[in-house]
Every structure is written in C-alpha cells, then in structure tokens.
C-alpha cells in the first residue's frame, strides 16, 4: 500500500509489517495530515507483533508531521498491541534529536539510528 502525501511517499509492507517514509513531508496543517493518520490506522489496525517505522529516507518532517507521528505512537502505546521499532539515519540532521524524543513518549520503543 502506498500513500502519496505531497512530496512524501508512505509505503506499508504488509508482509514485514514495515511502514517506510520517503521524501519531504511538509503538508500544510494537521487537517492535511489526516490522510497520513488514516493510512497508518487502516494498515495497522488489529496488528500484533513488531511494527517498524522506517524514517531513514525521510529528509524533512515539519511540526504538524511530528505531531501526527507522535500521536500515532501514543495511540500504539495506549493499545499496547504492537512492539515498535523506529529506524532513522545519522545522515539526516533532524532525525537524531526528534526520533530520540519518541522514546520519551514511549520508553518501550526500539530505536535504531
């Protein structure tokens, strides 16, 4: 399953339970990010086991984007069905600090940067 969100692409690999984010995610506001929220919700609903969020190819994420992803992580934490693995890249400047903050939202997250 693929979602094109502006200059970004979100791909869900059902077999590996892997969500890959690519490009530059800079939708205008939270309302526009509803499509991303819906995409994540539809594909991960009822999921159990390991779920990977792969940001290694995501060059840019604006503040509405980080809010959307943070809310998704809090939702996963609340449901408690999945084990989250967050992958980032040292080569993308924003990821080191901001992805590490996901762990503050949910200490059970596994982080690979």
């Amino acid at each position: 399953m693929i979602l094109h969100a502006g200059d970004a692409k979100v791909t869900y690999d059902k077999e590996n339970q892997d969500v890959k984010f690519e490009g530059s995610m800079r939708l205008a506001n939270m309302k526009e990010y509803d499509q991303v929220t819906e995409f994540l919700k539809e594909n991960t609903n009822g999921l159990a086991g390991k779920l990977t969020l792969d940001f290694t190819e995501l060059q840019f994420l604006n503040s509405s984007g980080i809010t959307t992803l943070s809310l998704f992580i809090l939702n996963c934490k609340k449901k408690g069905d999945v084990e989250l693995l967050v992958k980032g890249s040292k080569d993308v400047a924003w990821q080191q600090k901001s992805l590490a903050n996901f762990k503050k939202l949910w200490s059970d997250i596994h982080l690979e940067i």
Binding site: F60, L61, N62, S63, I66, T67, S70, L71, L74, K77, A93, W94, K97, S98, N101, F102, K104, L105
Partner: protein, 326 residues
Amino acid sequence: MSDQDNWEKEKQSLLEEIEDMKVLYETVAEHSSFIENELEQKNQEISGLINQLKKYLSPQLYQSILGGGKEVSLNYERKFLSVFFSDIVNFTEISDRTDPEVLSEILNGYLNDMAQIAHKHGGTIDKFIGDALMVFFGDPEYINDEKHARDCCAMALEMQMKIADIDKVWKKRGISHGLQVRMGIHSGYCTVGNFGAENRMDYTIIGGNVNIASRLESLAEPSSTYISSVTANLLDDSFMHNFIQNITVKGIHYPIEVYKLTGKSSFDGNDDKDDESLFRWHEDGLHLTPFISAEDLQNEEKKAQLLRAIDALTQSIAASKIDEKS
C-alpha cells in the same frame, strides 16, 4: 470497585495522558526549534552566497533575477538598446611595462570607478574584457530609447572626466603613458538574453549593432567618445557632438555617420535636474558666472569639479592651439 477507586483510576489515566501531552508538546517544540534553527542557518548561507554572486551581476539583473522578474533560462528577445564599449589606449604596452601587482591594482581601481559611474547612470554592465568594458542601456529595465541614449552618453562623459583624474594617479604611479580611453556608442535593435548551455549561461547581447558600437570605439581618438548618428538623433540639445566621418562596417550595407561626443550642459535636460554641475553651454561658448556663487565655492565637491573643468578646458585650448600651428 467503588466510585472512589473509579475516580482514582480515571484521575491516574488523565494524569498519564497529560504527561504524554507534555512530552508530545516538548517533542514538537524541540523539532520545530531544530527546523527553525536549520532554516535560519541555511538562510544565512544563502545570503552569503547571494552576496558573493551579486558581485558578478549588474544591480538591474540581480534585482530582476532575485526579485523573480526574470526567468533564468536560455531565452532571448530583440530590444532597442544603446550599447557602449570602452578600451584603454596602448594597454598592451602599459601591461608589458608595469609590475603585475601594480597593474592589477590600478586596473581594478579604474574598472571599479567606471562600474560605479555605469551603475549611477542605470547601465547594465555586460562584461569586462581585460581592460575593456561593455555596457548597455534598455534591458532588463526598459524606459524609452531617448532616455537610454542620453543616459549612455552622460555616462561616457562622466567617465572621461573621471579618467582625467585617474590619469594623474597613474602617472604618479610611474605609468608614463597615463590613462587614455577610447569609447564608442551606438543604438539599435540587438538580441538580448541568456546564451550558452543550460548549466552555464551568460546574459549578454549580440548582433550587428553591437559590432557597430565596438567598431566606433576602435575608431575613436584617444580620450574621446564616438557615437553613431542613430544615437546622436536620440539625444536632446543639451548634448554636443561634431560630425567626424562616414564609415562602413563589415556586414552593414550602408555607411554609418560618426560623431564625436564633446559635452553636455547640465540644466537643459529634463532628466538631469538633480545634476548640480556648474557649467552651461551656449552657442557662443561656455558660461560659468550665473551658476557659480560664493556659497558654491564653499562646497568642496563643487570646487573640485570647477578646478577639474578649468584644467580640462586649459588642456583642450592648449591642444587646439597645437593643432592650429601644425
């Protein structure tokens, strides 16, 4: 479970949610700050690069590109322009006889002064070719043909005045030839735009009329400016010019009338009301008195201007006497 327990559980849940929201808020704020800081840093880098780039562009072209007015692509158009060329007399010999360090310094000083005068008059500097300078009027900003011709000629006259000052400095620096410059101006339709390759282009002008301007420059006597009849016809009465000769230019099937640009009165033209020159030309000669007051002579700039003009006038009279004798 009692109501009290339910309330406690609900309270605990809300507190946890508040704590999550607090962390979320911090996450978003830190992420935003990071992006803003990076944006600011990138802006500073871009500003630095633009400032470097600015030195390679004329102010008009810089404004046109950076202001989004002109698309930077391989396109061109035909426009009526006034085109100016200048070249230092005997520059090859000067460069052979002068230390490279001194030569670089004085040449850059000269070109810098000329560029400032060109900018002041609204000229677009096309390029520096060694000691030569190519300027045009009419693009990217077009006003009208007459104004462009007037501005171009006024620029040339001011340059020649400045060159007389620079000449003294050059002689003091040991350049026995001093500084003499030939200038040529012609007006006509040219092709103006970006030429080259997609990833390396020059904003310039081409065409037969550009060649005519260049030819007029090469024909000009040292320290003089030759203009074509096309340019001369665009000028108002405040500009003085004398017919020199007809010339033929390769590729142009008609003779070009050549005039020598000799001067300009400052209070006649509509465009020059701000020009506070102290001189005015009449048919019977140069009038100074009505424009010079004791107050004027307290002004150092006006005083220097007056002394320069008297100096130039003296030299001109002396030269004409030598010509008469010969």
